[in-house]
Symmetry: C2
Subunit: 469 residues, 2 copies
């Protein structure tokens, strides 16, 4: 906002209240709202209550905690901008598990500020981003008494487990959530100097593989050489899913994958990241992946298959000469246009069943976390508004990018509410999302609030230009 002239009232409000808003973030980060852990169910509820209260305090109306069948959703709105567009702002207040706890420098749920950085589980993904639109609307409502357009808020508590209740919830609350576009705060920028707009997301599917080799754990002296071993069978199955070159070998896995268009390839070539930067960010010595594609292509437009978890037998100190009766793995695939979660899962399961040793029994535990791949048209009105907002905040034109991650809600909004989603969040890729020592940048937290005011303001009077879908 340098060079915008005299300070607007809302801007002064944000400056004057920034310390309190920072404290709000610390409060929210202190609630361990881990959606995947049954023992954190009460914490997830507590986070929903906190968000609802904070939204009401900001001037949100009709604030309510709504049952979804799973963790609750928080709704609120301000709908007095007659004749103007309605924006549904989306975010999630749940977080990933913090395990492995021993790799955190300090307690993941006792936020620690170090210079510009605030460390805590959920700092970057996405409790910081969640507060941006709330603070922006508060500043406008407390100073101007109104918002430039109509705004609805929807904060869910199940994003980190794949939003299993959200589609059903959206369908049941179509009128309440009706809007002209969605804005997702679950988003990020390239760096402190390089703004970006995410116009595509990969999809996701997940499954757990369960192998059983005997009715009971066996003694490797007595049974060793006589029976199969569930852990051995599991590693054989998992190793068969990919070649040593990183290419997925599951039959037909790549069949539906859309070819890369020349425009897409150009967009990816323009993306300002070097192998060295990627290696530094991921703390690896060497990049690795499907042959024949650049790293950016592999991340944006190629599907992947990854083992996320693995367990069998004895994991304690020392030796236990056991032949484990059971072994388990969690697998997710990132999907690209035109793959579907169901189609890919079917192929993976078929392949595993065909390649499993006959001496073991393989079964599957279905997991939440299915999401179709997503792409927004680049001329969409909301994108233009985000582009203008970021241009003003950063002083440079944002780059259009795709990301390798998945936000199932964008596909749902298109399918159920009939609207596209524009991304506006301030996370950066190096902030250890889903990993120990996750952090968020306080300077980004502040300018993200400004960006939301500018974004909403950009939409004034644009009702007639909207291409809905």
């Amino acid at each position: 906002m340098k060079g915008v002239g005299n300070m607007a009232n809302w801007e002064a409000y944000l400056e004057d209240h920034q310390e309190e808003i920072d404290q709000d973030l610390i409060q929210l980060l202190s609630i361990p709202s881990v959606s995947t852990s049954p023992q954190h169910t009460a914490d997830v509820q507590r986070a929903a209550q906190w968000v609802a209260a904070r939204l009401g305090q900001a001037g949100g109306e009709h604030v309510q905690i709504l049952e979804t069948g799973g963790h609750p959703a928080v709704y609120g709105d301000w709908l007095h901008a007659e004749g103007e567009l309605t924006v549904l702002i989306y975010g999630h207040y749940d977080v990933q598990p913090a395990e492995p706890l021993e790799l955190w420098t300090t307690d993941p749920f006792m936020p620690r500020v170090e210079g510009d950085l605030i460390f805590a589980r959920g700092a970057s993904d996405m409790k910081g981003n969640l507060l941006l639109p709330i603070a922006a609307c508060e500043a406008l409502l407390k100073t101007e008494g109104k918002l430039p357009v109509n705004v609805k808020f929807l904060f869910e508590g199940e994003e980190e487990i794949g939003s299993p209740s959200l589609a059903h919830f959206m369908t049941n609350h179509k009128d309440l959530l009706a809007c002209d576009m969605m804005a997702s705060a679950d988003s990020g920028q390239l760096s402190l100097d390089e703004p970006a707009i995410e116009v595509g997301l990969r999809g996701l599917c997940a499954v757990q593989v369960d192998v059983r080799s005997s009715g009971v754990d066996l003694h490797s002296g007595m049974a060793g050489g006589l029976v199969h071993n569930a852990a051995q069978a599991l590693v054989e199955i998992l190793a068969s899913l990919k070649g040593l070159d990183g290419r997925v070998t599951v039959t037909g896995f790549y069949n539906e994958v859309a070819d890369i268009t020349p425009e897409e390839r150009q967009m990816m070539d323009r993306f300002p990241v070097t192998d060295t930067q990627l290696k530094t960010m991921f703390q690896v010595d060497e990049l690795f992946g499907e042959p024949g594609f650049t790293p950016v292509e592999r991340n944006w437009v190629r599907p992947t298959l990854d083992i996320n978890g693995l367990w069998a037998g004895f994991q304690g100190t020392g030796v236990k000469t056991v032949i484990p009766a059971e072994a388990h793995a969690k697998i997710t695939c990132r999907l690209v246009p035109n793959q579907t979660p169901e189609g890919v899962l079917d192929k993976v399961k078929d392949y595993i069943l065909k390649h499993a040793p006959s001496q073991v029994k393989v079964s599957f535990t279905d997991l939440p976390g299915q999401g179709v791949p997503y792409r927004i048209p680049s001329q969409h009105l909301g994108l233009t508004a985000v582009r203008q907002a970021l241009l003003q905040v950063y002083g440079v034109e944002p780059l259009e990018i795709r990301v390798g991650a998945s936000v199932p809600v964008t596909a749902m909004a298109l399918q159920i509410l009939g609207v596209y989603t524009v991304p506006l969040g301030m996370s950066l890729d190096d902030e250890h999302m889903h990993a120990p020592d996750e952090f968020y940048r306080i300077s980004n937290f502040h300018r993200g609030q400004v960006a939301y005011v500018l974004f909403l303001t950009e939409l004034v009077g644009k009702q007639q230009f909207l291409e809905k879908r």
Copy 2:
């Protein structure tokens, strides 16, 4: 002891005191002396004290708890049989971990009696067997006032972690432990009707494989397709160690393995076990192992490589879209003559380092549990005594067998004390050793006490016939 004529005094003593001795077993089984878990160190100590006290109560002299550098050893003796042989009776009072606890019907350290069976961790391996020679000597000392031969007792607390301190301890206490033969109570029989003498044991080596793919756990959306995955690299490494047919593919793994002699093959062919029995015992639908050998051959005279434990990434409920930075596996090999633990470990490590993807770092955590393979000459005097004792107790000639398991102490006794070990214990193969719901047979507990009296009595006056080694 049917048909032995009038009941001997010691026999009457055992009958009269059997209930108390059963209660002793329940007491000992209630102490969770898990040697591999640092949190059970005090319990291991408590078990040593219990065993020492019980040995003293039985009439053992010079009873003492000796430091080993690891968990303590319990020593005691009775050395007043002038001109007679000295037998060192070996056992261990430590047990395997009880995990996974949820697969136990009742608490593994709250012994449960059901008919002839007593369920508890360590029941079969080997707290029941440990009490056999103590009760036998007590019966003799309390009724006859003496033992037929000289007896020393050595009960260690580290067998289940591979007896890491025992070789050093034996070397330091060579005079204290000097003897003409060792008798190991850590042994078993074929069934309730079929006695057996174990004349050979497999060796053991163990290693933990640690794979690291990045400095920190990564988000599979951001890094998926760009970097290697520690769990993926680990399954590729582990899958490379064995063919799908069960044969170990580690270069040179079978090089030193002794050919099977015609006598050995005959002995194995005589071994009375069917595939159906093995399948029932191990609760599997199909046996599996190295091609070209019978199940008994695979278990007695062929080496194995088994994954005992496996862990990486997220193991909780639901989905975590993480690319794990670390993955780990515990591996043990069962060894046969003429393999050595060091030689086999070197080959396994070399092979892993050569076959690991270049994008990950592989390191090894050395584990305790090295033991060389072992074979006792079949004309050994101690074997004859065990054979006679079992013939009297069972009414049938025992079979000479080898076992697939490992008892490192036998190789140490030969190397350090210069004596062979004869086996005399009452465990059966179906008793869920090292697994949930471990149990022991009370009827075997009783007749094992009788067998020990007969075994010691058989050795009277045989000093001049001993082939020491």
